[in-house]
Each structure stands twice: as C-alpha cells, then as structure tokens.
C-alpha cells in the first residue's frame, strides 16, 4: 500500500471524467494503464500525482491522503512525466534534467556530488548523455521525451508516473524505454495505448474505459478478446504462448 486511489472521481467542465476509480499500485513492477483516447488515463495520472484535487474519493500515499502532504515531500518520492512539455525558457537539456534535483535540495544548499551523480546517471540511463549540452528547443520530439524522463529519474522517485512516454519515440527507443522501466527499481505506472507493448512489458495492466477502471490484473488475465472488443471497439484475437501474450487485430 504505497500509492493508491479509493473511489476517486473527477469532474471537469460539468462532465465526469474519472469515475469512482479504486486502484492500488503493485508493490513492485510496472503497471500499464491502457484505454482508448479520452478514457481518462491522463486525468487519472494527474489525480494520482496530486496535481488535481478529486471531486470525490481520495488518493493515499502510504495511507495518508495526498492532499494533506506537502508538495515538496511528494516530489521527493513521486515523479511525473506529462504527455507533453513546452517551455519558452532557453534551457539546455542538462539544465532540464537538473530541475529534477530541485525537490531534493534545501533552499540555499549548494549543488552536491550526489546531485551531479543523479543527473549523470539519469542522462546515462535514457541514452541522452551525448545531447546534454544541447538546447532543449533544438531537440527532436523523442529526445525531449527522453530528457523529461531523465528529469524524472533525477528526482530519484519511489513512484514514477509516465503518460504515454513512447509516443514520439522510434521503435528502438520505445523498446529501450520499456525494457528500462522494470529495471529502475521504482514502482512505475505507465499510460500506454499500444496493447502489445503493455502486454509485453508490464507486470500488471489496468484498463480504463469511459472514465472507469474496468479491469486490473496480469496481462494474460486482463487482455482477452471480449474485453478488447468492448473497450476499443475492434475485433482482436489473443494468443498466449511461451514468448508472452500477442494481440492481433482485424
């Protein structure tokens, strides 16, 4: 019971967006949050991160309501990578990653060896060391995404929430990232729309449909043809073999 949601709802602009979601992060491993566009994945992630206040229910961090915890304390253990990040500030890639150290540093404290090591390790693990000196504004979409992930890693979080992080990445970097996630040693929640990727790399899957969480469990249990048909409105066949779960669409 580290990060959990109990009956969380969120209404925006008069419409219910997230409805009565109860979800607990697995003790370890990667939780894949899947669902069609507009099913409320991003909204749920923001609620889990405490960036939005639910209109009902509550999010708990170690049993404490997240709304009662100071932002700085949350940021020391929970990092978020949003679907897109834009800035007008002329920062280098490395400066963006260094922002991730902000929660760990006291107001007047100096930059330490530990900060330096965290930034270097984050750049290393996302394969962005060679771009560290480059201006953020000149990076490609995929490189920006990886720098944001590096920034989140520099926070040294215990929980990492990622919103469709593979979106702008080419196939090699998608696979690199998905393989990296289980090895981080942090609990990860990742919103994905590629069901095969979710099946291949997530230890657990939660399915969102019209703002509700309609299933949570191991990929082989959750991802069956009838559920995929209902949620995504496509015909699919699921084969479970020695190489894992494969989903084909018709």
């Amino acid at each position: 019971m580290t990060l959990s949601a109990e009956n969380v709802s969120w209404t925006a602009g008069g419409a219910p967006i997230v409805r009565d979601v109860t979800l607990a992060l697995p003790e370890k491993g990667v939780l894949g949050l899947v669902g069609p566009n507009g099913s409320g994945k991003s909204s749920l992630l923001r609620l889990l991160a405490g960036l939005r206040r639910g209109t009902g229910g509550a999010v708990y961090v170690d049993g404490q309501p997240i709304t009662r915890i100071r932002r700085a304390e949350i940021a020391r253990r929970l990092a978020v990578v949003e679907q897109q990040a834009t800035t007008e500030v002329a920062l280098s890639a490395r400066e963006v990653v260094a922002l991730g150290r902000a929660p760990q540093r006291a107001a007047w404290s100096a930059w330490t060896e530990r900060d330096e090591a965290a930034v270097a390790s984050a750049l290393e693990r996302t394969g962005m060391m060679h771009r560290a000196a480059q201006q953020w504004s000149t990076l490609s979409g995929g490189e920006r995404q990886r720098i944001q992930i590096a920034r989140a890693l520099a926070q040294e979080p215990r929980e990492l929430l990622l919103d469709e992080p593979t979106n702008h990445l080419d196939i090699r970097h998608q696979l690199d990232l998905m393989r990296l996630l289980p090895r981080l040693g942090t609990r990860v929640v990742v919103a994905l729309h590629d069901l095969n990727q979710a099946a291949a790399f997530c230890s657990e899957i939660a399915v969102m449909h019209e703002g509700r969480l309609i299933a949570q469990g191991a990929p082989a249990q959750v991802l069956n043809a009838s559920l995929i048909g209902e949620v995504f409105a496509v015909d699919a066949s699921v084969t479970c073999g020695p190489t894992g779960t494969r989903i084909s669409f018709f």
């Binding site: 932002r71 490395r94 922002l99 930059w111």
Partner: protein
Amino acid sequence: MIAGTLSARGSRPVLGLGGFLLIGTAALLAAVTCGIMFGEIAVTPHEVANTLANRLLGFDLPVDPIREGIIWHYRLSRAAVAVCAGASLAICGVVLQALLRNPLAEPYLLGISAGASTGAVTVIVLSLGAGALTVSAGAFAGAALAFAFVAILAFGSGGGTDRIILAGIAGSQLFNAATSFIVTSSATAEQTRGIMFWLLGSLGGVRWPDAGLAFPVVLLALAYCLYRARALDAFAFGEDAAASLGVDVTRVRIELFALTAMLTATVVSIIGAVGFVGLVIPHAMRFLVGPSHGRLILASALAGGVFMALADVLSRLVLPGQVLPVGVITALFGAPVFGVILWRSRGAK
C-alpha cells in the same frame, strides 16, 4: 547556492558569478558617481569625495556648504532612489515573466503601474492624508486592485499566457482613464501640473526619506526572490510541472504576485509609472548570465539599478536647462527592444 547552481548546471554564462558581481558593483558605483556629478551645477569628484567622507565617515574636510547640500541632499538621494527603483522594476519583470511564462510580462504592460498611479493620485487629490506612507498605501491598494482586475479578466477569459497581456492592456487603459478622470475632475491647477509630471516618471522631488522607504523594500524583496529562485526555475514547464517538482504553486504565486505589487507600488508612489525597465533588463541579463533565476535575479537587480541611474543622468543632460521625465528616457531605449522581442517571439512560433 548560486555559485553551486552556476557550475552544476553545466551551461557557460558569459561571466562567472564573482566576475559579474564585481563588474556589477563597479558599474553601480560609477553610475551613482555620474548621478552625483552631472547636472545643472557640475561638481568635481574632489567635492564629492570630501562630502561623502564628511557625511559618512564623520570627517571635517573643506567643501562649500551649498555644494555639499546639493551633493548630499539632492543628487545622492536621487541616485540612490533611482538605483532602488530600477532594481525593483527589474526584479518585478523577472518574477512576472517566470510566473506568467510570458516574455512580455512586466508591471507597466500588465497595468499594475497604472493601478498604482490611480491609487496614489486618489490619495493625493482627495487629501486622504499627507506623507509618503499614505501615498504608498494608496499606490499599493491600486496596484493590488489592478492586479486582481487583470488576473480575473485573463483567467476568466480562458486563461493562457497570451490573454494576460491583452487583459493588461485593458487594465492599463482603464486605470489610466480613471487617473485622468480623478485629476481632471478634482485636482487644483497646481496639483495637476505636479501630478502630470510625476505620472511620466520623475525623480525631481526625491529626497532621503524616499530612499529610506525604497531601500529596505527592495532589499527584502531581493532576498525573498533569491530564496524563491529555485521555485521560479521550476516554473519553466508550467504550473503542473512546478507542482510535480515540489513547488506549492498557489502559495508561491500569491506571495510573489503580492511582492511584485508591493515593489511596483513603492516605486510608483515615489517616482511615478516608469515603463520598460522591467521588460528590457531581464531579457538583456538572460543573454549575459543565462536563465537560472538565482543569477538572473541578482544580475537584473544590479543592471536595473545601473540603467535607471544612468537614465536619470541622461534625463538631466539631453536638453540643456531642462529635465526630461525619466520615463521618456527609459521608453526611448525600451520601446525598440520591446519591438525586437515581439519580432523574435513571432519568429519562434
């Protein structure tokens, strides 16, 4: 902390922090010296040195008492206020640009200065009480009102960083009109002349008590903004990103907006609404020291002080025998820079 940030972030600012502080302080001293020496009555560096030694260190060196009076009571207090005002406006610019994520944000363009003017003029014309403190209080109330007006208009109309400038224009117009209305309908002819000159930005009537107000205010504001420098850095990717980096967004916003309103109000109540300093200085300093707010705030405060002190000197020298409002000088330099920024931000899209 700032030195640490400097090396750690790995970017290469044109100057190191030590070098910058050294040059900045030297420039500040030079600007203040110019402010003391130049004017209708020129005084020599020797007279300046003797006056300062007498006044500050308790010496008893020979100086003509009238000239000593000019140096100490008029010129030095005036230069000190110019430095404080320039520093205040530049700090406001840095803070507002970071919080609103808009390169054009500054107190003048956002209508905060106009609101402060309205508040100050109301207090003066309606004689709600004499003295610098009541005028400042009026200016602060006006600044806060203008800020609330602009914020409600901007976020009520759908938010977004572009809206805030449009709302600021509406606010400026409204509060400037209110000021004109109050002056035209209620002020005596003599009051009107004084107020109109002051509205354009004037350091003419400035004395030591004004410096006594401006100096502690800018010093406290500077310290607080440096304390919040990391939070301002975290706003680079917006408020959600700042929150996820541990910034208590609502609290930091309220505190810093209140602080900019207070700084602007203090400046306006002393020298009137002076534009462009808050816009031009932060952008120039970003080129020199980079975007990290620890450095940027310090650099902008120093440069703003130097810029305003020099603008004041120019305002006394451009037309022989006449003093231009200092706002005219800052606008003459500021408006072209403003145009360049507009042009560049258009090109970036």
